[in-house]
Assembly symmetry: C2
Homo-oligomer: 222 residues x 2
């Protein structure tokens, strides 16, 4: 009975995700779904990305939180196209929440939508939102064992960003252990090491975004 309920929830989600995907494709929008633990730096990553692509690409943001508009207010200083979703306690976004949010965005004006999922390494992994890519943002301070402890998040993500590299000298983080464990779980995954604070590696991330956007039939600069 419990399993049946979960199956129905996931089937319902898949239907909405497929509809979102069609809408994103029709509007030539690249959609990135950012997953991470609380405090790994999702909001900072989004702000740095908007800053670096300003005057080139118009970026909309969908902010997921269990409550508050704290992050949306921060991001609003950098782009007017922000929608906050409050899940009311639910530990992940789902595709019908995204469907509602994109009704409020002017899709014709946007090149990229970045979805900041609820801070959680478990629940968001199973929910397809209709995105092109899942990006997992891990941070040095969480430790090098996160792939071992939370395998599904690493298996399902298309790209791993390792943030807070500016703090690596003060930690016991073993880069080669982390890389080996990620590669065992997901041999196709790529890791980009970044620091949203110092800017380290963000050029590589921006190159990745630009290349990814190319594959979705990008609108080009406005």
């Amino acid at each position: 009975m419990k399993i049946e309920v979960i199956e129905n929830v996931l089937k319902y989600n898949k239907n909405h995700a497929d509809k979102n995907r069609i809408l994103f494709k029709e509007n030539n929008i690249l959609v990135l779904n950012i997953l991470s633990s609380p405090g790994a730096g999702k909001t900072s990553l989004i702000i740095e990305t908007i800053k670096r692509l300003k005057n080139k690409k118009r970026i909309g943001v969908i902010e997921g939180d269990i409550s508050s508009t704290y992050d949306a207010e921060k991001i609003k200083k950098f782009t007017p196209d922000v929608i906050q979703i409050n899940t009311g306690g639910t530990c992940h976004l789902n595709a019908s929440m995204i469907a509602e949010a994109i009704n409020k965005l002017k899709l014709k004006n946007l090149d990229i939508i970045i979805i900041e999922n609820v801070g959680n390494l478990i629940c968001p992994v199973g929910y397809d939102l209709g995105e092109n890519y899942k990006i997992l943002l891990s941070s040095v301070n969480e430790g090098d064992d996160k792939p071992v402890k939370y395998p599904p998040a690493f298996i399902k993500s298309n790209l791993i960003l390792l943030n807070k590299m500016d703090l690596i000298e003060f930690s016991d983080f073993d880069e080669s252990f982390f890389e080996r464990k990620v590669s065992e779980l997901n041999p196709d995954s790529k890791i980009i090491k970044i620091s949203c604070k110092t800017g380290t590696g963000l050029d590589k991330w921006i190159d990745w975004v630009i290349a990814a956007a190319g594959f979705t039939g990008f609108k080009g600069t406005q």
Copy 2:
């Protein structure tokens, strides 16, 4: 229908939690349920606690993870009384998982049980395990906005430990903002600032544990 399922799940959980609570009380065991984000330092906290109470109190540990025995193996070096629960993907421990785990522990020998919940600031909050206290371990690197972003975890916890204080000089963490937000949500809560790496504040934490143990009809040293 969905709400009814959730209500039944919580009622079922409460029954098991009450049974666990009786068993813990009969055996004069202090039970601490540690909640945190992934990588905030739960396992390090448990190891440091065992080290400091060695030869005084016998501590059993219940390790919760979605998969792997990685943390249990680390802790096994410091106490033989460790049980690993793998939730198989579920984002929190529940009281019936704990009931099964305590069957495998020799309760008569133990003074304290520390439960390391699954790394997650959302799901574990609603599940009573039969513990005496919920301890929320937050870390400096997650940022000072965690009370704003994850209010229920802060509201429901009896004690907040702020870990990784050794890294505060390299972060933008505003201690007074954090303290104010915690106190707005939970006026009765206490914050102890610690570093499991340098030992800062751990004496205060150990004093808290000893005092808490006193109230449960502690067995005393063995």
